[in-house]
Symmetry: C2
Subunit: 231 residues, 2 copies
DNA sequence: CCGCAAGTTTGCTGAAGGACAAAGTGGTCC
DNA sequence: GGACCACTTTGTCCTTCAGCAAACTTGCGG
């Protein structure tokens, strides 16, 4: 097993304040693993044995209702920690993590969480900032779901994905991981049918261009208006 | 200014592991304050200068949308910390806190947060557990809003309030703080009209008994069925 | 004790969007 | 190359619930 390169972590927020030797130490405990698109990284309710850091790819964090419906709780982009149950003092994962595209992640046993946070104060601080941001995002989603119409919510969801993972292509900005209509409906609390109709309408208006599992936003500004920024 | 009694904190989760002398120390920095019903404790966006602990009463934590609508993010019951922006590394309050009934709270300047968490590891652990629970509750609400019909959501909201603050009366279990139809609509993403209709219907069915601002649940089990626990 | 404000009830209407149905379109695996 | 499967599109119907309107009730302050 070859050693991981330190440059993997330098520059990522949770590790930005650490010294080379500390990063070396952390990496020596890390287990890297590759996941195929659709592969499960951990499962809701299972013992939280490890916490994870995404290096490459995209992860969907999903909850399933008793009725069998899925809700996408969160998208993780490269550089972010996930499955950090120990930070919240939990011993099982509260949701399931699935690779949205082929992904590469590091992981550590949860017992090291305590070590990391006490040894490296910057790590703790950054982790809790992340948590704060997620709390904020969830609050935003609650507000959207409670007050906005479906069209606005779908527009907002697209914009969020574009912001988090958009990469420039000649037509506009493309969402960098595969997304189905169903996925979008699971993010916005509607049906895949309604999402399909909206995307068709927007396609006709030249706001987006979408193919199977891939979406390019060609007129982000118009989407912003639709999303309810007082349009 | 008379000294606060130590028994105020012994027994509360965030302080349960501390020694008498430590509690004394913490209390000596605390500022107690009484709030009338409807009084604002802190305001969204303002500098987070203090964090708070509710001793008596109930607090509503509220977000306001650009459209001027209010969303109730959270209810705080006695014994809980609130306004803990520092835990999330934030320097402004993310929402507004309003006393739902006459309330009594202690507060400390945020700079003591760091002291508390490092000096008293139990305090940190308990605080982050609380945060974990709140994250979980928010996730539950998102799921409800995304998948359930209005009737189920309102039933679930009532049950949540009953669980958090129910006190036994001869008719059933009463929600211990004033709640208007509008409040309930702000918790569930509907209108006060719809809530009123639902409560009227449930009153007719003998499930609840409500007067102006007060609700007694007389048949909790039937509400559980309505709330979507596979009814 | 009166008047007002805040909270509640109820009726009516219409639109949004969910449910159901069915056909079209790539993509992939053999 | 063919067959299957996952994803998408589109149509129709029908329920839910928001929106609007107006009357009613209760409590409080003057």
């Amino acid at each position: 097993m070859s050693k991981l390169d330190e440059s993997l972590l330098t520059g990522l927020p949770p590790f930005s304040l650490l010294e080379r030797s500390q990063i070396r130490e952390i990496l020596d405990h890390a287990l890297p693993k590759r996941y195929d698109e659709g592969a499960e990284i951990f499962h809701e309710g299972h013992d939280a044995e490890r916490f994870h850091l995404l290096l490459d790819g995209y992860i969907r964090v999903v909850k399933t209702t008793e009725g069998g419906e899925q809700i996408i709780a969160l998208h993780i982009s490269p550089g972010q920690l996930f499955g950090i149950a120990p930070a919240l003092n939990r011993d099982t994962y509260p949701a399931t993590a699935i690779a949205a595209s082929e992904s590469l992640a590091l992981s550590w046993p949860v017992r090291l969480w305590g070590d990391f946070t006490t040894k490296y104060p910057g790590f703790a601080t950054e982790s809790y900032s992340t948590l704060g941001q997620r709390l904020g995002e969830m609050q935003t989603r609650i507000t959207e779901l409670a007050t906005q119409a479906v069209e606005q919510r779908v527009a907002a969801a697209l914009l969020r994905m574009v912001t988090q993972s958009g990469r420039k292509v000649e037509e506009g900005i493309e969402i960098a991981f595969p997304v189905t209509r169903r996925n979008i409906s699971e993010m916005t609390g509607t049906t895949l049918h309604t999402v399909s109709r909206l995307l068709s309408a927007w396609e006709k208006d030249g706001i987006v261009h979408s193919t199977r599992k891939h979406i390019v936003v060609t007129a982000p500004h118009r989407l912003v208006l639709l999303s309810g920024a007082q349009g």
